[in-house]
């Protein structure tokens, strides 16, 4: 708080604080308090299940039932639950590894496919372009889960079910990615730059891989993240496509664990926590990028 400063003519003035609104419209303390209370209540709602999982994952089946939910049990038994989890589901770590592999592969390939298609539709005029764009935008509103059963049928006819491709191929196709790539390419790849490169004799492939990809980098991080999360979250598709336990992603593995008659709940909760952690780390790590990407999608859409 800056002190009042008298001026030469004897008047006093309060300088505005940098980044804050003028004092004439500054909110009252009352309004500020009510807002904070509302925001805190909302924050508690959104965070308490996560906190609860963290506590529950340290407890054995006895403590989870008998001790207070929002604190640790009689002893913090991470290693006990870990032993329980891996003894009960020896492949658990492999499932996490599978999830990481499927998500990374689908997101890497999917990002490249989407930005190149989005770029093509933004910067080239070619026959069939608007039909293609319209079809893909309709795909944005297609309920993907409804496609799952037909896709399982189709993939088993061409012999792709129960392979890694059965998960990777469906997940890497992202109409949202094309939409975002298209919006980004329209606004942030200057046509003059492309023309200059062409005059200098660069081929289209070289222009794309050396220049355009760099200009589209923020959009690509967003698309990567969204395909990654989408693949990690997918449950019905791998549930129906995969039958070998060694191919399962972590979501299907956890579903199997909680389907037991008397599941080890502490171990399930530890599994849930481990199945979530990589995503949270990724989101916090890359938050600058996905927020700007979401902004572009929301505003220009």
């Amino acid at each position: 708080m800056s002190a009042l400063k008298p001026t030469v003519d004897g008047l006093e003035y309060r300088p505005s604080i940098e980044g804050q609104p003028p004092r004439s419209i500054a909110p009252s303390a009352m309004a500020r308090t009510i807002t904070t209370i509302l925001l805190v209540v909302a924050l508690i709602y959104f965070l308490f299940p996560v906190l609860w999982v963290i506590f529950a994952s340290t407890k054995n089946n006895h403590d989870i039932v008998s001790t207070f939910g929002f604190w640790f049990g009689e002893k913090v038994d991470w290693s006990g639950n870990w032993a329980l989890l891996t003894g009960w589901q020896p492949m658990f770590l492999r499932w996490v590894g599978n999830s990481i592999f499927y998500s990374t592969a689908a997101a890497t390939i999917g990002t490249l496919l989407s930005v190149s298609a989005g770029y093509a539709m933004a910067k080239f005029r070619y026959p069939g372009r608007s039909v293609m764009l319209g079809t893909i935008m309709a795909g944005l509103l297609m309920p993907v889960a409804i496609l799952t059963i037909p896709m399982v049928l189709l993939f088993s006819q061409i012999g792709l079910n129960n392979t890694i491709w059965a998960v990777i191929i469906p997940c890497m196709v992202s109409p949202f990615g094309v939409f975002l790539g298209n919006v980004y390419a329209t606004t942030s790849v200057p046509t003059e730059l492309l023309e200059a490169a062409r005059i200098d004799g660069a081929g289209e492939a070289r222009i794309f891989f050396t220049m355009v990809i760099r200009l589209l980098a923020p959009a690509m991080v967003t698309i990567f993240l969204f395909i990654f999360v989408g693949t990690w979250n997918n449950f019905m598709l791998p549930l129906m496509m995969l039958s070998s336990p060694e191919l399962k992603p972590v979501t299907v593995g956890l579903y199997g664990m909680m389907s037991y008659y008397e599941p080890q709940k502490g171990a399930v909760m530890m599994g849930a926590l481990i199945g979530v952690l990589p995503l949270i780390v990724l989101f916090i790590f890359l938050q600058r990028y996905w927020q700007s990407g979401l902004a572009a999608g929301a505003v220009k859409g």
């Binding site: 804050q20 609104p21 909110p27 807002t35 925001l39 909302a42 924050l43 959104f46 299940p49 609860w52 529950a56 989870i64 039932v65 207070f68 939910g69 929002f70 496919l113 989407s114 093509a120 080239f124 005029r125 070619y126 372009r129 079809t135 893909i136 795909g139 509103l141 297609m142 309920p143 889960a145 409804i146 496609l147 059963i149 037909p150 896709m151 049928l153 189709l154 196709v173 289209e204 794309f208 999360v229 990690w232 979250n233 449950f235 019905m236 979501t251 579903y255 909680m258 709940k265 399930v268 909760m269 979530v276 995503l279 949270i280 989101f283 902004a295 999608g297 929301a298 505003v299 859409g301």
Partner: protein
């Protein structure tokens, strides 16, 4: 005359070479995606339409046992029978009704909450916005199935820290009672997606030029008026997108009922249409097989499409 054609034909030939170059490059860059799109979006629709016209029947026992496809079953062409069976099944329409009721209640609550939080965070009442934003968004980073498991455990009294305070209802723990379970699922969806929608609104709000507020202030508008007359109308296109995506999401309700089914004894295999389609394809419901399951999927896709288009036009009419 002839010179004129010569003059115009020259640039036209050049234009057409450029056009050919554009067409080739455009196709080259978009074809890889489009081929995958056909494989993942269009081919399944075509094969579903085809499959929905067939029924899997046991390939006659005895002498001819196992004569046909896998598991001794053959595909028999039945025309629209699968659609008739699904369309006249009261359980299917009960499922559709549940999903619609779910959407009518849950979508406005979620969108309203997301908009309210976004407006608060966009206002000058709040500092350190990043913490709030990340906190509200965090549930989105939790896979739907894992969220359903977590909330499922929060609903059963043996494990939950607070379910003990609620009475049993209809012979079930409160949150899993037949009349409450739909709203327990609505809570899971709201929890997961509110933060995501809030970010979309926040992005749209922050794109509004600040001068608009200044001008309104000078004209004497209050903060409330600025919110209702400027901010909310300016985010209506973001709201349209959010609602459309929510409708599409609601139609696909699958993870939540799948998990709650494990925790209850009463929940039918037909609780939501997607659950019904899945159980039909795995043979837990009769008539079973890919034919009837495809028919249910196609009916649901049509219903989703009709709802989305209807909402789109209703929204446009309101805005005019």
């Amino acid at each position: 005359m002839s010179t004129a054609t010569a003059q115009t034909s020259k640039p036209r030939r050049r234009w057409s070479r450029q056009a050919r170059h554009e067409a080739v490059s455009g196709w080259a860059f978009s074809l890889p995606f489009f081929l995958c799109f056909i494989l993942v979006f269009i081919a399944p629709i075509v094969s579903a339409v085809r499959a929905s016209l067939f029924k899997q029947q046991a390939a006659g026992g005895g002498l001819y046992g196992n004569a046909g496809g896998e598991g001794g079953k053959v595909d028999v062409f039945v025309g629209l029978e699968n659609y008739v069976v699904a369309g006249t099944d009261p359980e299917f329409w009960k499922g559709v009704g549940r999903v619609m009721l779910f959407g009518i209640v849950q979508i406005p609550i979620m969108i309203g909450l997301a908009l309210a939080l976004a407006l608060l965070l966009d206002s000058f009442l709040v500092r350190r916005k990043t913490v709030w934003r990340l906190g509200y968004f965090l549930p989105y980073a939790i896979p739907g199935l894992i969220a359903a498991i977590i909330w499922g455990y929060l609903y059963i009294p043996e494990v939950s820290p607070f379910a003990d305070f609620f009475p049993n209802m209809e012979g079930n723990p409160f949150f899993l009672a037949p009349s409450i379970a739909l709203w327990s699922m609505a809570n899971m969806t709201t929890w997961t997606y509110t933060g995501y929608n809030m970010l979309i609104f926040l992005a749209a709000l922050q794109a509004i030029p600040r001068d608009l507020y200044e001008a309104a202030r000078i004209d004497g508008a209050s903060g409330w008026k600025i919110t209702t007359r400027i901010k909310i109308p300016m985010v209506s296109s973001a709201a349209l997108l959010a609602v459309l995506l929510s409708i599409v999401g609601t139609i696909q309700l699958f993870n939540e009922p799948t998990i709650l089914k494990k925790l209850t004894t009463w929940m039918p295999n037909t609780y939501t249409p997607m659950l019904m389609a899945y159980q039909t394809s795995t043979g837990l419901l009769t008539p079973s097989g890919t034919g009837p399951a495809s028919a249910i999927s196609i009916l649901m896709a049509l219903i989703a499409g009709v709802l989305a288009v209807a909402y789109f036009f209703a929204q446009r009419k309101v805005n005019q």
